[in-house]
Subunit: 277 residues, 2 copies
């Protein structure tokens, strides 16, 4: 899926919402435990209830790996369900991998070949040869960690003065933007740093940014958009917990849809105001 | 397993060898495909043939994830086999994870609780709160990526002048060494940078270092040891492909053992020369 295609989905749905499937069995409504695979059933209901409001879904691999091979089966079923039923969705593997080249080939196979994800989040710390194997898959995306949404982002990413007074996350974006193109590379920039998104835009005016941290982590959507939107959309904003755990009983999908619709309608107004529709 | 215990195993076996289980089905001897789970059977034979020569095994998760939930089952069986039969082995999950705190809790559960690994490799790029959840497991280890063995290590890890003319990998070690202790934290330092191991030792004189890159990647064991050994051993040196793919027919275990024994006997001499036995 090329960048232009993603933008056309943004325009069609008036949304740049990604929903994070950080599915914790402890927080799944109890009636789903009557089914064989409650994690999959939960995800299926979330997706069915929101697919017209979101352009992307992002399963967080940790939540599936925590349950071993059974958890991976739930993940495989979720990916397959989304790809089979909702072709226009950008399916993001939130795996944050990063390893030497020969190992990266196997991680790439896991997410792009076996499970047919469209994109994968990666750490660039190990450098170019750790990322290149993913870029050889036509139509797929790498999403490189630049500036994350958590407190620890100040430990290294915001460390001062790596080359000519730049911060580490800026150096990472500057160097890695040349490994691929704006049609196969995005960057993670946390919603909790809305003012720094403007600095990121100076380095990569055309790239899509994946912005987690809206919702439970408290990022400010208006400011993110003011600093991050470009002429082709250019933003995919993720919310996880605030949407998927909005309800906890039978019919929880209604509350889930309500939360997703609330974000989508804010996004529609913003897109309108930025003349992007 | 505390650092003193690891050192006692090093002394007993006269070895600080870790064998990387980067098991690729394409390189497994063909007769093993008569079994239900060739990947597990291969690993089992490797471990049975070398457990007295190695102090640690390090399955590389990418090679298992590339085969979906079936691959994870082979990994789970491998971990269980080693922990059940060889209690003194340090079992390292080479997963290179790194995510926000609430997500790290799930990755920690996957490797430490479900599969009972003793240690996990992690990227520190996302900072302290991405690592702390792993440190709450008593007796377990985090192994933080500092300076990796691949070409891409020069892209960011060796970037100049982050605070007072230090390199990024030095800043990462300096800061993160205080998150845990020398009894629960190690650092990855690639064998392809033997001279820089001396710089690492100045920052963390007491910590264990995990050194990949001997063997297929060409690191120099003598120089690594001259610069990296401390009074309690302090080194775990990994070889993967050069050992596990030493043979390719029935009886491949004999070649595998030969390669492991060659490294072990070099290590025995080095330990003797450094008065560490």
């Amino acid at each position: 899926m090329k960048a232009g295609k993603i933008y056309s989905h943004i325009q069609k749905k008036k949304s740049f919402l990604c929903i994070g499937l950080d599915t914790d069995p402890k927080r799944i409504p109890s009636h789903l435990f009557d089914t064989d695979d409650p994690v999959f059933e939960f995800n299926k209901r979330i997706v069915d209830a929101t697919h017209d409001l979101a352009i992307a879904y992002k399963p967080n691999f940790a939540f599936y790996e925590a349950f071993g091979s059974d958890g991976i089966k739930s993940l495989e079923r979720t990916a397959d369900y989304i790809k089979t039923n909702y072709h226009e969705i950008l399916l993001i593997a939130d795996a944050k991998r990063g390893d030497i080249g020969n190992t990266s080939e196997y991680y790439a196979r896991a997410v792009f070949q076996n499970m047919d994800f469209d994109a994968v989040t990666l750490s660039a710390y190990m450098g170019k040869d750790s990322i290149v194997p993913y870029l050889s898959y036509a139509g797929k995306w790498v999403i490189l960690l630049a500036l994350t949404s958590n407190e620890g982002s100040s430990d290294f990413q915001l460390a001062n003065a790596l080359e000519e007074n730049k911060k580490l996350f800026e150096v990472i974006i500057e160097k890695s933007k040349n490994w691929g193109t704006a049609d196969n590379t995005m960057f993670v920039v946390g919603a909790t740093h809305p003012s720094l998104i403007a600095d990121v835009r100076k380095i990569v005016p055309d790239h899509f940014l994946l912005v987690p941290g809206v919702g439970a982590q408290g990022g400010d959507l208006e400011m993110i958009c003011r600093n991050g939107l470009n002429q082709k959309g250019g933003l995919i904003v993720n919310a996880s917990r605030s949407i998927i755990y909005a309800g906890d009983s039978e019919g929880f999908e209604i509350e889930v849809r309500k939360q997703a619709a609330s974000l989508q309608s804010q996004m529609a107004v913003i897109l309108e105001n930025h003349n992007l529709l």
